[in-house]
Amino acid sequence: MTVLLAVPALLLIAVVFGWPMLRYAWLSFHADSVLTGLEPVANGGANWIRLAVDQRFWLDAGQTARFALISVGMELLLALAIALLLHQSWRGRGAVRALTLLPWALPTTMMALGWRWIFNTPYGPIEVLARTIGLDSLDLLSTPSITWLVTVFADVWKTTPFITLILLAGLQSIPDDLYSAFRLEGGTPLQALRRVTLPLLLPYILLSLLFRLAQAFGVFDLVQVLTGGGPAGSTESIALYAYLNGMRFLDFGYSATVMLAGFLLLTALILAGTLVLKTFGVLRPLDR
């Protein structure tokens, strides 16, 4: 049976993706930290109870969700606009498309310090620009209510090209004939966008949405290097919190609990989202 050829690859996936989840589930019911000499000791649901009342966790969860939703929302809108632009044919399109892909190529941590400098108060170019126009110091990286937007900006910058490519693929899959037929029916280009393009683009939009939401929920690289979770923990994400618990506080039991909780929250978020979309009939074009 040739399907046996797939066993090594599938086994590797199952182990690397499945084992951690099982391990976290087990660890979350144990205390495993410096206090226990780094050995797991069963403690019932103590970790979970601690999680339930852990203000920092719920704050982080909210911040992570907010980051993910806003970030992905903006990426989708921006990517759609860029994809529509790149879908038309004009000279140099190939070159421009290649250039717009570059932000995606760089590791997040690499640009993170760059962003820290760009938004640096008082020496970064943004501050300098603000001063030249006559604005007060913007303090973008040290104002808790604003800094998270900087992380959103950095995330949007890096991942928009990825979504743009997916949406471009979707645009290319729509036959030109449909637009011609629509025009003959008397539709304007704007109406075509709404009635032809968007419905047919829906599977791609949902795919990008799903993929990016899951990725954004696990945001780690960006916040660790750009803000360290600050100022005042305003940009701390679930993944970062789990990391701190595991690597800095050496509380592995709790770290596992946080990660598992994060995974469960993400799943709940996706299921809720799917339900909402279904109720509003948004998913109907997908029924083939």
Partner: protein, 271 residues
């Protein structure tokens, strides 16, 4: 200027300005970085690059480490995924749907959540600080995408071709080598470059598995430099590091952009 040209220009500025700023900063003196009033001619220097290249370990070491890990990962992934995709493409239709859903699920998973358990495994099996060992989890993490792309490629081949090759007397290995693999070459190339980029960009696993400074991959090294001192980070040097570190990646992406685009496109269509 047409309205469209304005949008195109804005798009390019948005995409490239931050990177160009790094380039500019890398040639800027430390004084000029904090003093925008300094005259234009006094701003430039090559010191940042000089400092960067004389660190210990030397900067190119990180590029080497990342290249090594990425190459090993790509090799391992392809070696496992190609036969797997061949087998999966032959599955009866009944099983294909559910298996594809499972693989897509793995592809969407935020792998950062796995790092703690993976770290445990590294400690248990002494896989830490080993550039060869780290390609194993990397391979596993990029395997779902590889399987999706390569299975689709095999499924797209006409069945007759393999039948004809069988009747010509070719064994399975011979069929793969002379007929099937050449025909899925574009998909293999796309998969290879996407896996390579993933391995190069990966951070959480590298951060926890690699601690020896001469073994760090590029993202971890950059983060370490960035976190080394909060108040007097040498931004000029860091910018130089960004430029040097980015060049291989940018070149790679520009050279292989067609494969990248087609890989993502096909992945989207099948997903």
């Amino acid at each position: 200027m047409t309205r469209r040209s304005i949008w195109i220009a804005l798009l390019l500025v948005w995409s490239l300005a931050p990177m160009l700023w790094q380039l500019v900063s890398s040639f800027t003196t430390a004084d000029a970085l904090v003093n925008e009033q300094l005259s234009f001619w006094n701003r430039w220097t090559l010191n940042n690059y000089r400092d960067l290249l004389s660190t210990d370990p030397p900067f190119w070491r990180y590029l080497f480490n990342s290249s090594l890990v990425a190459s090993l990962t790509t090799l391992l992934t392809l070696v496992l995924a190609i036969p797997a995709a061949y087998g999966l493409a032959k599955l009866p239709i009944r099983w294909r749907g559910s298996l594809r859903t499972a693989v897509v699920g793995a592809a969407l998973f935020p792998y950062v959540l796995l790092f703690l358990a993976l770290l445990e495994l590294a400690r248990t099996f002494s896989l830490g600080n080993n550039l060869i060992a780290i390609s194993i989890p990397y391979s596993a993490l990029s395997m779902p995408l590889a399987l999706l792309l390569l299975t689709a490629a095999f499924e797209a081949l006409p069945n007759d071709l393999e039948d004809a090759a069988k009747l010509e007397g070719l064994s399975l290995w011979q069929r793969l080598r002379w007929v099937l693999l050449p025909l899925i070459a574009p998909a293999s190339a796309s998969t290879a470059i996407l896996v390579f980029l993933f391995a190069w960009n990966e951070y959480p696993v590298a951060l926890t598995w690699l601690s020896r400074s001469d073994l760090l991959t590029l993202p971890v090294a950059m983060a370490r430099i960035a976190g080394s001192s909060t108040y007097s980070v040498p931004y000029g040097t860091y910018a130089a590091a960004t430029v040097l570190g980015a060049i291989p990646l940018l070149v790679l992406v520009l050279v292989f952009q067609r494969q990248i685009v087609s890989g993502l496109t096909n992945g989207a269509i099948k997903g």
